[in-house]
């Protein structure tokens, strides 16, 4: 458990259990992959070598590799090893829930954000049911545009019940990432989101006219749950086709 008592101690020794060993190993490997430590098609170290390098057990290393494979960053073959998969463009494995901001930054681009709308309003009956609201039926309605290097990649429409915010919170105070704000203010921790994926042409809700009327978007309709299993945020995200790419490694079961 004490990673420092072992090998090279690659993992941070402080905050050891911030995220679990498997997640730490995965993050480190991902950083190394992004920095092109292994070229496209090149073989990664064996599982045993990684076990020794990181000072963790083999199942832990395997969980990290499996997760990277599910994001399409490596390909693992029995009897041969794991191999890096080259990647280009801004995008992400669809299985992974992280802020678009950090994904953009990770890909070497500069993320920014423009708020278009930020108001309290009454919840619709659907939202009351979705969030299981009884007393307080006020929700925050957010509309914003997410950019990479100044170019719009996503239009985002979020709805959150009032209880997720600290008392005395003013919508105008919200800047940057909603996830980031919640983390800093003791709000719910995003744990998972059930997403439904749909193709759409430019929806009415996209407020600026930078696009031709037949511009395509990939829509992700997501309900976010915190670690206690409570739904605390509904997100309707429209990704501009061609500017943000989603990949999925699909694996066979039967």
């Amino acid at each position: 458990m004490e990673i420092e008592h072992r090998s090279p101690s690659v993992l941070p020794s402080t905050n050891v259990h911030r995220q679990g060993l498997a997640a730490q190993v995965k993050e480190d490997l991902r950083a190394r992959l992004i920095s092109n430590e292994w070229a496209d098609g090149e073989k990664l170290p064996t599982e045993s070598e990684l076990v020794e390098y990181y000072g963790v057990s083999r199942p832990t290393v395997r969980e990290a590799l499996k997760s990277l494979e599910s994001e399409g960053r490596i390909l693992t073959q029995q009897g041969r090893g794991s191999f890096a998969i080259g990647y280009s463009g801004i995008g992400a494995g669809m299985q992974e829930l992280k802020s678009i901001t950090s994904t953009v930054r990770e890909m070497g681009h500069v993320p920014s954000m423009i708020y278009h709308h930020r108001v309290w309003r009454e919840a619709t009956p659907e939202e009351v049911e979705k969030f299981d609201l009884s007393d307080d039926q006020i929700v925050l309605d957010i509309q914003r545009k997410l950019l990479a290097d100044g170019i719009a990649v996503c239009y985002n429409y979020d709805v959150l019940p009032r209880w997720v915010f600290p008392s005395g919170f003013e919508p105008a105070h919200l800047e940057g990432s909603v996830f980031g704000f919640l983390r800093e203010h003791g709000g719910p921790t995003p744990k998972r989101a059930l997403a439904r994926i749909k193709p759409v042409v430019q929806p009415d809700v996209v407020w600026d006219s930078e696009f031709p009327p037949d511009q395509l978007f990939l829509s992700l309709d997501q309900l976010h749950y915190d670690k206690r299993g409570r739904p605390f945020m509904h997100t309707q995200a429209y990704f501009v086709d061609g500017r943000f790419n989603f990949t999925v490694m699909r694996t066979a079961t039967s």
Copy 2:
């Protein structure tokens, strides 16, 4: 390991290692979920109970549950348990690689298939590289339409190198599922596919005019790998928006 020596022996006792214990447990649980053994929001048995019921270890049960969660069929909460998520419509978890045919059947609909095109042709330079073809640069080009209850849900364009087929194979012999054909004839076993997801308006390649010109499709551009890691099939699939739904359970890492 011998499942029969333990509890109720729910898993098939023949062909024990057909698919791995975790996959068997998962399939059984999925079947029970689909048959509505647990209603929307209802609690599943605890992990310990499932361990006893299936006669496998806890990590095995957990792998099955995790996989079901990633498909959006259950929601697991620490300290509470796992809960069923209701599902409606034809669709699938995007992470799971299985034939559309079997997905449709599983959802209680009748799958069928119409072949539009089935010919040998020369591989393009891109295909030569993609499949790593040296000698034999002939590929099979397949175009077909997949239906549920007689309604088109997907247009499919497949390309496979000649080596995946038995010698003497005649394209006209191909009926029904390609995966099924390969399984029966000792061809490569599909293991995983790297998919890129895009929204598209009705592509030129959709040959019948049952749709309005602005009909939307969700495109999955997939390269399939067999268990040895060889790419053996390229699939360009166009799912008709509204007739086949994809979901993804996205989970947080950082």
